[in-house]
């Protein structure tokens, strides 16, 4: 289930790319609304600045100019009627204040072209009043001259001039008021648009949130849930259910990988099933062959021994009934024939015992090795007494096993120690230690004697069935004992070996798995 690499364009975008794009889109949207909002705020700021810094002071300045000119006009009129030079000082003050007011207006409204004409008009009207109405009064050198200037006519012209100036100032006021109105409106507009922008931004964030959710669902959660469904079906046992990734190529690849894993597991399971079927067949064959062997063992035990018994018994009968008619040589022949038949029977019985190890055991049970060895020494009592042997038995554990087989093993080992004795009366020492083995703890039971010992060269051969190191004339026996002991040890999951020791004597060690509950404790070899 490979990834379809023929996909073009967006279809080839990985999950990461898709998420990044989604994120970028939202970011752009938010940034755009932010920019709009900042521009709006800046504009609002400008308008407010204009109002605070220009228009309001301008209104004040215009008022100042009006007050100054009013002061000038009243000063000139006072001078014209009284000739008091004090009025001229007031006039000069008023002139300075008017000039300062006009300069301020010029400064505040200068940049605004709409006011250029207004300001120019105020200046020229002020100048006209000063030159035509004020200057002649100041210039008049006598009271008579000044009286002419108090004439109704002149005063009217003068008032007209000053009224024209004030009308011009009124105009500026009106313009400023209009301007102010316009800017307040603009401020209101800006506030409205800012609110709108805010609403739009919130709406934008909500919409982009929804888009992100939808996108995530389409790009991530959907495909993953689908993949999860597939994987769950497989996990629930439908191993043939294919797993397919959808959406971005990496999810498709993940699906492909999971499916490859599934296919692999299916293949392994099939292989295991096949192997298990094979094993079952083999087990069945083995069981059949075991049954055959059992049958063979029975046949061997009965049918092979029957003729032997016949040979030996009738030879003996012949000897018994007709010995007076036979010479010594004939009797010797008969002895050999009987001996051969007996040995043959021993061999057959040993072979049977060997082949039966494990096949007559139904289940392992706890076996107290101390009791087992007591039984073995009891059975060997005549031989022990005859050899004047000492058997020392240490503290022995309980193991899981077949009591009869373990008994046979120890009986074999002890009787070997008695049989292969040296010059001294035999001493047999049996002790156990708990050792940590590769597959858990094991009891190692050692059987040490002071006999003739065993050449280490033969430490393996001695365990081969019917293998003997000595002639039958030297030591009796069929050579089954150690082979049987080895088979019994292995049947119990243990092993037996000849421990290399300096002469004299030999040490056999039998290792048996310790039962799981065995406590770690130190065993003393107290006899």
């Amino acid at each position: 289930m490979g990834v379809d690499l023929s996909l073009e364009g967006p279809a080839r975008w990985t999950l990461r790319t898709r998420l990044l794009l989604l994120f970028a889109a939202v970011l752009v949207l938010v940034a755009a609304t932010l920019v709009v909002q900042i521009v709006q705020l800046r504009h609002q700021q400008d308008v407010r600045d204009e109002l605070l810094r220009n228009i309001d002071p301008a209104v004040q300045a215009a008022t100042d100019v009006r007050a100054a000119t009013a002061e000038q006009e009243s000063a000139i009129r006072g001078y014209a009627f009284t000739g008091d030079a004090g009025f001229l000082d007031e006039y000069v003050d008023g002139d300075r204040a008017a000039a300062a007011g006009l300069n301020e207006l010029d400064e505040l409204l200068g940049p605004t072209e709409a006011f250029d004409a207004d300001l120019e008009r105020v200046r020229s009207l002020l100048e006209r009043w000063q030159t035509t109405s004020a200057q002649p009064v100041i210039d008049a050198s006598s009271a008579a001259e000044r009286d002419d200037l108090t004439s109704e006519e002149f005063q009217e012209a003068s008032l007209e001039n000053i009224n024209a100036l004030w009308a011009a100032l009124d105009e500026i006021d009106a313009h400023l008021a209009t301007e102010r109105e316009a800017q307040v409106d603009e401020l209101d507009d800006a506030a409205r648009s800012a609110t709108l922008a805010m609403v739009l931004q919130v709406a934008g964030v909500v919409v982009s949130g929804l888009i992100v959710l939808a996108g995530l669902s389409r790009v991530v959660t959907g495909p993953i849930a689908r993949l999860g469904d597939d994987a769950r079906k497989v996990a629930e046992g439908d191993l043939e259910h294919p797993v397919r990734g959808i959406g971005s190529p990496d999810l498709v690849r993940l699906g492909g990988d999971v499916d490859a894993m599934r296919s692999r597991i299916v293949a392994e399971v099939n292989m295991l099933n096949a192997a298990s079927a094979d094993l079952e067949r083999q087990t069945e064959e083995l069981a059949r062959s075991n049954r055959d062997l059992e049958q063979f063992a029975y046949v061997a035990s009965h049918d092979l021994q029957e003729p032997l018994r016949k040979v030996s018994s009738f030879c003996q009968l012949l000897q018994k009934r007709y010995s007076d008619q036979l010479d010594e040589r004939a009797n010797e022949y008969i002895d050999y024939a009987v001996d051969g038949a007996k040995r043959m029977q021993d061999l057959i019985n040993d072979l049977l015992a060997f082949s039966r190890v494990g096949r007559t055991t139904e289940a392992f049970e706890p076996v107290d090795l101390g009791a087992v060895i007591d039984d073995a020494t009891d059975a060997l009592t005549p031989a022990i007494e005859e050899a004047d042997a000492t058997v020392t038995v240490g503290d022995l554990p309980v193991v899981l096993g077949d009591r009869r087989l373990l008994g046979a093993t120890f009986q074999n080992l002890i009787s070997n120690a008695l049989k292969f004795r040296g010059e001294e009366p035999p001493k047999v020492d049996i002790a156990a230690t708990l050792c940590a083995g590769a597959d858990g703890d094991e009891w190692v039971i050692s059987v040490t004697d002071n006999g003739i010992g065993i050449d280490p060269d033969y430490d393996e051969q001695i365990f081969v069935i019917f293998k003997r190191l000595h002639s039958k004339a030297e030591y009796s026996g069929t050579g089954i004992g150690l082979a049987l002991a080895k088979k019994i040890a292995e049947f119990h999951g243990g092993r037996i070996w000849l421990e290399p020791t300096p002469p004299p004597g030999a040490t056999f060690k039998l290792a048996l798995p310790a039962p799981p509950s065995t406590e770690k404790r130190v065993h003393t070899d107290a006899g």
């Binding site: 035990s301 009965h302 016949k310 018994s313 009968l317 019985n349």
Partner: protein, 147 residues
């Protein structure tokens, strides 16, 4: 039993091997066992003899059965089962004689309540001993029903 000791014991030998029949006869003679030996060759005949049916209508009820395990037709185990399952016959002591030391046989025979189980030894002298022991055990020590 001393007063009646002179009466020969009736022994039924169930054995198909003529050599073994001869051997048993010799051993009984060698062991100086006073006996009447009846021989049948297979399990079917053994049961017929014991139940006095057919050709064995006049058969004597044996004091002891020496039963070989491996017989033609009905084998020794089945014969033993039949004898021990029969209210009339179950009190007759049965000694199973066989060449087999196989433990299964021992167990099976004991399960079927054989009175003794004897492996025929290779040694003729030992066989005589065994026969003598059987005789002593069953005839002298155990008080047999009907005697």
């Amino acid at each position: 039993m001393l007063a009646e000791a002179v009466r020969p014991i009736e022994v039924l030998l169930v054995e198909d091997d003529e050599g073994d029949v001869l051997m048993t006869r010799e051993a009984l003679a060698e062991g100086k066992v006073l006996n009447h030996l009846h021989v049948v060759g297979d399990g079917v005949d053994a049961l017929a003899f014991l139940r006095r049916s057919g050709a064995y209508a006049d058969a004597t009820r044996p004091d002891l059965v020496l039963l070989d395990l491996n017989l033609p037709k009905r084998d020794g185990r089945q014969v033993l089962q039949d004898i021990k399952g029969d209210d009339d016959l179950r009190r007759i002591p049965v000694v199973v004689l066989t060449t087999s030391e196989a433990e299964e046989d021992v167990l099976r025979s004991y399960d079927l309540h054989a009175n003794a189980y004897v492996t025929k030894p290779v040694d003729f002298e030992r066989f005589v001993d065994v026969i003598r022991q059987i005789d002593e055990f069953f005839i002298s020590v155990v008080r047999l029903p009907g005697r």
